[in-house]
Symmetry: C2
Subunit: 328 residues, 2 copies
């Protein structure tokens, strides 16, 4: 029997995890490991597999940066500031005959993002494999001084916000795969770039400490990830389709093809932050947006339901594909 | 061009590492990450790839334990006590059709060693891959209260010690591969067991804090690993062949086949600790051995040379294969 990632973790690994040591039941973006009475370290791990999370033809410079940035995004969603990381690089068959060239570009990508995010490599492992190249990173951050942001604290009545624009990365991947076409080069480039290089919302995450009630990064798709917040918080959510921030490039595609709606709502790889906050914190949310220079849009609210629904302009629930979330 | 692991790390990754953040130039068994002014966390990562570090037919119960124990061994060599770990499990093609059964046994192996070593899982990632199953673990430990033990502090005149017996795991692998035969089942089982299940020397590592001048775990082979201590400490070493502790089982093979000498000196996977200590600390070394209930044997001394040599009973340097170490 095949199982999805969340079922695997819940069934086999959550029973091995320690609440005392900050595992959060393996149900959040990171662990918060106590180091002594007064200090904690935020710890998150994320792996990219060639052929699954990146394409063989992707340049190692971008693969390295994507690997770092997906990890940085997990810390951002906890409100944590990154400090350091370990890298376990499993060099696959295809790369072994061009190791020097590949590694040089890969290391240059890491160096670039180390500068940008003020982090450093502290350890890891480097092995070869007869299979695909795989990059396994564990990243370390300082907890948010105003308090870490968990998935599990959304309250009925909270407003739901999202950073940036949603759907661009999934559309970029669609373009790369030839499933979608877009004639305007400028817009196509924008979408491709969003797929290729996540922008972890580190500054926004920092600013949301003490402001957001719950947060998660949008890696698997807006509805699925908002569904995780709802499941952990034991609440439901209503999202207004017309309020979801969509880029000009995505809008061009949306005007041509209704199926794009599904990609926007359920596509992954945006690495924006979806978060909730009490209505009384709306001013603070806007200040956090200003302070971090990150656009933030209100897209709905938390209710006492058991699912995430999306409503259209006339208030009717939209019919969506299979990714809809419903908790017990 | 192909490069070995150490060249890859030195050329591409060491320049990305931060001394300030305790990377030790990526040249030791673990990093020592400062968390605040008074606290550090010892961090090490180690990956096992199916077909490279374990065999497809190995049971997941033992694969899990081996993955944890190779990481525990790195901490032991730093004198650190383990606390927690993150697991990134890359489930390969072969395992995907029997995921439940495989994961159940894998998780049971982790649970067993969590109990034994008093550690817990705090996070990780779980993905699938079209290639081999790969286990990437990052482990966290408390620094030794009497001071961490580095590779770089061996001094001319220090004595060299090793825990347990050397060569068993490589001979066990030889038996598994059918390259060696041994008729006595009891002895064959002993060697197979040494290959299958490393015994990280956690208690000895703890006891050696403030006693050993340098240490490393024997994962790549005694001469190669002692060579790393010498390279980092800028010294040479002389090892006396007759003093190397060899199990009764290994001795049986040795009596039949001279080639076994090479396997004992250069084979890997023993996960014993090779360490150095000042001659004035010999009593303390023996106390550490007693306290940790771990046999320790003096096998040679550090000199001002540039290589590791092995001498026979008459004091002559033995001719050995290509793994000999020589630093600039």
């Amino acid at each position: 029997m095949k199982m999805d990632e969340f079922s695997r973790i819940k069934r086999y690994f959550a029973p091995l995890s320690s609440t005392e040591l900050g595992s959060l039941g393996l149900r959040d973006d990171a662990a918060i490991l106590p180091v002594n009475d007064s200090s904690h370290l935020v710890v998150s791990s994320d792996a990219l597999v060639q052929g699954v999370h990146f394409r063989s033809e992707d340049t190692p410079y971008y693969v390295a940066r994507k690997a770092l940035r997906t990890n940085l995004s997990d810390l951002a969603a906890m409100g944590s500031q990154p400090v350091a990381y370990t890298l376990t690089l499993i060099i696959g068959r295809e790369q072994q005959n061009k190791t020097c060239d590949w590694l040089e570009k890969f290391a240059a990508g890491l160096a670039c993002d180390q500068d940008e995010f003020k982090i450093s490599l502290i350890g890891g492992d480097s092995v070869t494999s007869p299979g695909p190249t795989t990059i396994s990173i564990t990243i370390f951050g300082k907890p948010n001084p105003s308090g870490s942001i968990f998935r599990s604290n959304a309250k009925v009545g909270d407003e739901i916000f999202v950073s940036g624009t949603i759907g661009d990365a999934a559309l970029g991947l669609g373009l790369l795969k030839g499933e979608i076409t877009l004639d305007t080069k400028e817009h196509a480039d924008h979408l491709l770039d969003r797929y290729r290089l996540p922008r972890p919302r580190t500054a926004l995450g920092k600013a949301l400490g003490g402001v957001a009630s719950a947060a998660m990064d949008v890696s698997d798709g807006l509805l699925q990830d908002l569904g995780h917040i709802c499941a952990e918080s034991n609440v439901g959510a209503v999202v207004e389709w017309r309020d979801i921030p969509i880029s000009e490039s995505a809008n061009l595609l949306l005007n041509e093809n209704d199926n794009v709606i599904e990609l926007i709502l359920n596509g992954g790889d945006d690495y924006e932050i979806v978060f909730t906050a009490s209505p009384s914190s709306r001013q603070k949310v806007m200040e956090a947006s200003d302070r971090s220079n990150t656009p933030v849009t209100r897209i709905g609210h938390i209710n006492s339901g058991v699912s995430v629904s999306v409503i259209d302009g006339s208030g009717r629930a939209m019919e969506l594909g299979s990714k809809g979330y419903r908790h017990a």
